[in-house]
């Protein structure tokens, strides 16, 4: 967690110069963000930095503070303390500038069910054009565009063109003139994302973009996100799925109870977290002996879970290490690690892993301080 704090000396507030295109300004920088709703502290001092043109995943379970983080960065909620800049603008003092530079796609589809896909996009495109014109109005005199109503016809033509382009890009042209309420979940998400792009944002926030989608729709969303990233847009996404973060993100931050518990590339993260979990049904005596070392506990079935990379050699060694007498383990099952396992590993440095594997040869990262020792140099894909 040390590396993202290096740039925190910058003052906040209205006085700081706006530097929208300065290469030095990261796409997102948050310092010490705190937010409480009543008694509940949702964010407890969050620091993160997202370089421009990268895909950044904020990974965490429900209630970790992901949505709150996104809403603060997208200027929809104000933090109680701390500061953040997005696209070089302060989220508090330069709210309008931030809003013009970003887009947000939330967990609830932000499109009208009772409008068609094309109508939704045309409406958003016209609103975005207005916001831009209003923002540039004091300096726009020199441009060729007349600010008066004769522009209306051209404005709607432009909005229609933009809508058509986005419909095509998101594979929705055939459904353009259907009411959104007839769309499938995946189509709705794609339309929602398309609607968020009408203003050509520099930074795109996606709050759980694939939650609730079927596997095929999820793949399509992933394809779209990859395309956006390929065009150099910064993507900040939240997800509950390790696999999604792994598939899409350049860097992954793990959010747990309002703070980042780990941050790094997918490979760095996976080196800390074994790809599988060995579930053992054990005797009562063995349960008590082994419970402190397990990452997963189910006392009612006397089941304990231990992280492993899933290779036969390692599973065998793990079984031998845990149950040298071969009396304690009644049965076992090997499962793909879940996000829970990731969190348990990351938040419980004392949990045991394979005793035999050599440490990873790569340089230590921020994760080292928090995580259990590395298990293998070639972690399986999660």
């Amino acid at each position: 967690m040390s590396e993202q704090r290096t740039e925190r000396s910058e003052p906040t507030g209205a006085g700081r110069p706006a530097a929208p295109n300065a290469p030095a300004a990261p796409a997102v920088r948050a310092t010490g963000l705190r937010k409480a709703y009543g008694e509940v502290e949702v964010l407890k001092g969050l620091d993160l930095t997202v370089p421009r043109g990268t895909v950044y995943a904020l990974l965490g379970p429900n209630g970790a503070g992901k949505t709150t983080t996104v809403r603060i960065l997208a200027t929809l909620t104000e933090a109680d303390a701390g500061s953040a800049t997005v696209a070089g603008h302060d989220v508090r003092a330069e709210r309008s500038r931030v809003r013009r530079a970003i887009s947000l796609t939330g967990q609830f589809a932000a499109v009208d069910e009772m409008q068609t896909g094309a109508e939704n996009l045309r409406m958003m495109a016209r609103l975005a054009a207005h916001a831009t014109r209003r923002a540039t109005a004091p300096t726009a005199r020199r441009t060729s565009e007349p600010a008066t109503e004769p522009a209306t016809g051209r404005a709607s033509a432009r909005a229609a063109a933009r809508a058509a382009e986005l419909l095509d890009r998101f594979d929705l042209t055939d459904a353009a003139d259907r009411l959104v309420k007839t769309y499938s979940g995946g189509m709705r998400r794609r339309l929602d994302l398309a609607a968020s792009l009408v203003g050509n944002p520099e930074v795109i926030f996606l709050d759980e973009p694939t939650t609730g989608l079927d596997p095929r729709s999820r793949q399509e969303m992933w394809r779209v996100v990859r395309e956006l990233a390929a065009q150099g847009t910064t993507v900040f996404l939240t997800t509950q799925y390790l696999e999604e973060a792994d598939q899409l993100a350049d860097r992954i931050a793990v959010l747990h109870q309002g703070t980042l518990v780990a941050e790094g590339t997918a490979d760095e993260l996976k080196r800390r977290v074994a790809g599988h979990r060995l579930d053992l049904v054990v005797t009562a005596a063995a349960y008590h002996r082994l419970a402190p070392r397990a990452a997963h506990h189910a006392p009612e079935t006397r089941t304990l879970g231990f992280p492993t990379d899933g290779r036969a050699r390692e599973v065998r060694e793990l079984l031998d290490a845990l149950d040298p007498d071969r009396t304690g383990v009644e049965s076992f099952a090997l499962r793909t690690a879940t996000l829970d396992d990731v969190f348990l590993t990351l938040t419980n440095p004392t949990s045991p892993v394979s005793p035999a594997s050599p440490a990873s040869p790569t340089s230590p990262t921020a994760l080292d301080a928090l995580a259990a020792p590395a298990t293998t140099e070639e972690p399986s894909r999660v």
């Binding site: 947000l104 939330g106 609830f108 009208d112 409008q115 109508e119 207005h130």
Partner: protein
């Protein structure tokens, strides 16, 4: 301003497609006019032809129901993510709410013209000058605007469209203890003070006087002041509630 127009276009499209609500909004005034004129009218003595007496009351009753749909529209918006989307396009609360209010006004004026058309067909004969017509319609629009803004504020206050529906009931009830359907001096004494002075009576008396070409004294201004006051309070409340709701 043009943002409000875009939002109005949206609200109108949504209204047009909400067929159930639209049919109710248009059928209700027609049914109420017929019910009052033919079911109750024979038994009510107002000193004029009852249809002539009751048209302003039916108009306001229906304006109440029609405007209250604004509350539901606002709650629906807040339930989904669309308000956040608008805000992230740097569109504030005012254009979003103004769009609903203007659409509500348009819906109500459609219902109003239906009521007038039917009323003419069954014997409504106003004696208003063109200026009187204009003033009466202006006052009606002011009343619809006031109630629509009030309704928008209620929509921001309540959590669900169902709760917003409760507001419809309350507003729909207000014209009954007024001079809408019977003369207030036919009511019990304890009710007369309220019935004769409440805003609905002021607006109805002003519109009735204007349509019949009778002098209305200061009633028109009092009615307008009520509408302006309610609008001002409702707009301010809506602004505050919007900021509170979107935190």
């Amino acid at each position: 301003m043009s943002e409000s127009l875009i939002m109005t276009g949206r609200s109108l499209r949504l209204s047009r497609r909400n067929v159930d609500a639209l049919i109710t909004a248009l059928a209700l005034p027609v049914l109420l006019l017929l019910i009052f004129v033919y079911f109750f009218g024979g038994a009510i003595n107002t000193g004029t032809r009852y249809v002539t007496y009751v048209v302003p009351g039916v108009l306001l009753l229906c304006a109440g129901f029609g405007s209250a749909n604004t509350a539901q529209a606002v709650t629906e918006d807040l339930k989904g993510g669309i308000v956040d989307r608008f805000r992230s396009l740097d569109i504030g609360g005012t254009p979003i709410l103004a769009g609903h209010v203007l659409a509500s006004t348009a819906r109500n004026l459609l219902a109003t013209s239906l009521v007038f058309a039917l009323a003419f067909a069954i014997g409504f004969r106003p004696a208003a000058s063109p200026a009187g017509w204009l003033a009466a319609l202006g006052l009606l629009v002011a009343y619809i605007t006031a109630l629509s803004w009030l309704s928008a504020a209620v929509g921001l206050l309540v959590k669900s469209p169902e709760a917003a529906g409760g507001f419809t009931f309350f507003i729909g009830f207000l014209p009954y203890p007024s001079s809408a359907f019977v003369r207030t001096d036919s009511m019990p004494t304890w009710l007369q003070g309220f019935a004769a002075n409440q805003p609905v009576t002021q607006v109805i008396e002003a519109i009735r006087g204007l349509l019949l070409g009778k002098p209305i004294g200061s009633t028109g201004w009092v009615a307008l002041a009520w509408c302006a006051g309610i609008t001002a309070v409702a707009v301010a409340a809506a602004g505050l509630l919007f900021r509170r709701r979107v935190r």
